[in-house]
Symmetry: C2
DNA sequence: TTCATTTTTTAACATTTGTAAAAGGATTCA
DNA sequence: TGAATCCTTTTACAAATGTTAAAAAATGAA
């Protein structure tokens, strides 16, 4: 997915503002299994995914819990780093080789102060991420695991092909054994 | 809590910008049990809570699920209405008589286009709500009900006094019976 | 205060989910 | 191809949570 498409799907910028923003972005690429972000560090970059798929995970006691997947067109960001300048929850691991667009957040913060269109783009970006996060929270509070698995199957069938079930079970908040039982019942 | 304090705790505005924003805000008051927002409507106002406490709930089949509490200094908003102009999840019921600051969102949208400080205030507002939502999602995915109850007890002890346990159990995602068992174990 | 109502806890049993281990499939790479 | 590894399902049992009902405690109104 092209950077222009990713940026303008958030909020369409005037050409001059887009050019400013684009000049701060560079393309990078990393292999499968690469650890892009670490939970104990303050991340000063955000990434837009051109190709590939990633997962965010954190540790609870000794256990790894996967809590987010990102694919083409989505944004890899540690919200706590971005907003509060503190280490975030997420370790981000690449599940496939990825091509990414990289943007340094300090440059973005400068643009927010200078350009009202970019400030409003940043507002829309936060708002859209907020809606996504709220939807995940609501789904988790209101739906059973079976319902959320079915929704995932319907809305993102490619994820089931691209990601092993252990990670998906963790993401859904159950053990792999339990997810297996759910899959057996649906058939 | 005064409106100036609520607005500037999000992001400190220059005086002129604050005056502009404040001129769009009026004070209103409603009694306990009043239904301020309905889930099936598009809400065109947001409220800042001066005094009182409210809950957001939705229906899952026949059951009511409480998924948010708001108190002094917090913002009552239907994010889906505000951001996507669609009916949101939340019914908002007042659990105490409340004094509120009311702001029409269409006026706010106008100010976003005119004033870069207010645009950045709006960005910070969305970002802070995002952090809060993310924290709730992470807590839900990573902590047991007992841990989340203890955190609530520690961080918001007043809520346990002001809100009945049925609503709190629902908020924590368990039955009241189960919450009672948790409370019995902690003692 | 006293009675009625609401809230919270307790109990008994059913259901769901977790744990640990093993078996069955699928994939990779020499 | 074949052996090793990884992924997924199945089984048996344990632990946690839900359901329903009743008892106890707290609250509120006359």
């Amino acid at each position: 997915m092209q950077v222009q498409q990713i940026i303008n799907q958030i909020y369409t910028l005037p050409e001059a503002s887009f050019a400013q923003l684009k000049s701060c972005i560079k393309e990078v690429s990393f292999p499968k299994k690469y650890l892009l972000l670490r939970a104990d560090t303050i991340e000063r970059k955000i990434y837009f995914i051109k190709t590939g798929i990633v997962r965010a995970y954190a540790y609870q006691n000794e256990n790894e819990i996967t809590f987010w997947f990102g694919k083409e067109g989505e944004t890899i960001i540690s919200m706590k780093s971005y907003i509060m300048n503190q280490p975030g929850y997420e370790n981000i691991e690449l599940l496939e080789t990825c091509e990414l667009y990289e943007l340094k957040t300090d440059k973005l913060q400068e643009l927010f102060k200078q350009d009202i269109h970019i400030a409003n783009w940043g507002r829309k970006f936060a708002e859209q991420e907020l809606i996504k996060t709220e939807e995940r929270l609501i789904a988790r509070q209101f739906s059973t695991t079976a319902e959320r698995y079915s929704a995932l199957l319907k809305n993102h069938p490619d994820l089931l092909q691209r990601i092993s079930l252990g990670y998906i079970a963790s993401y859904l908040g159950v053990t792999q054994v339990s997810l297996s039982r759910i899959r057996a019942e649906i058939k």
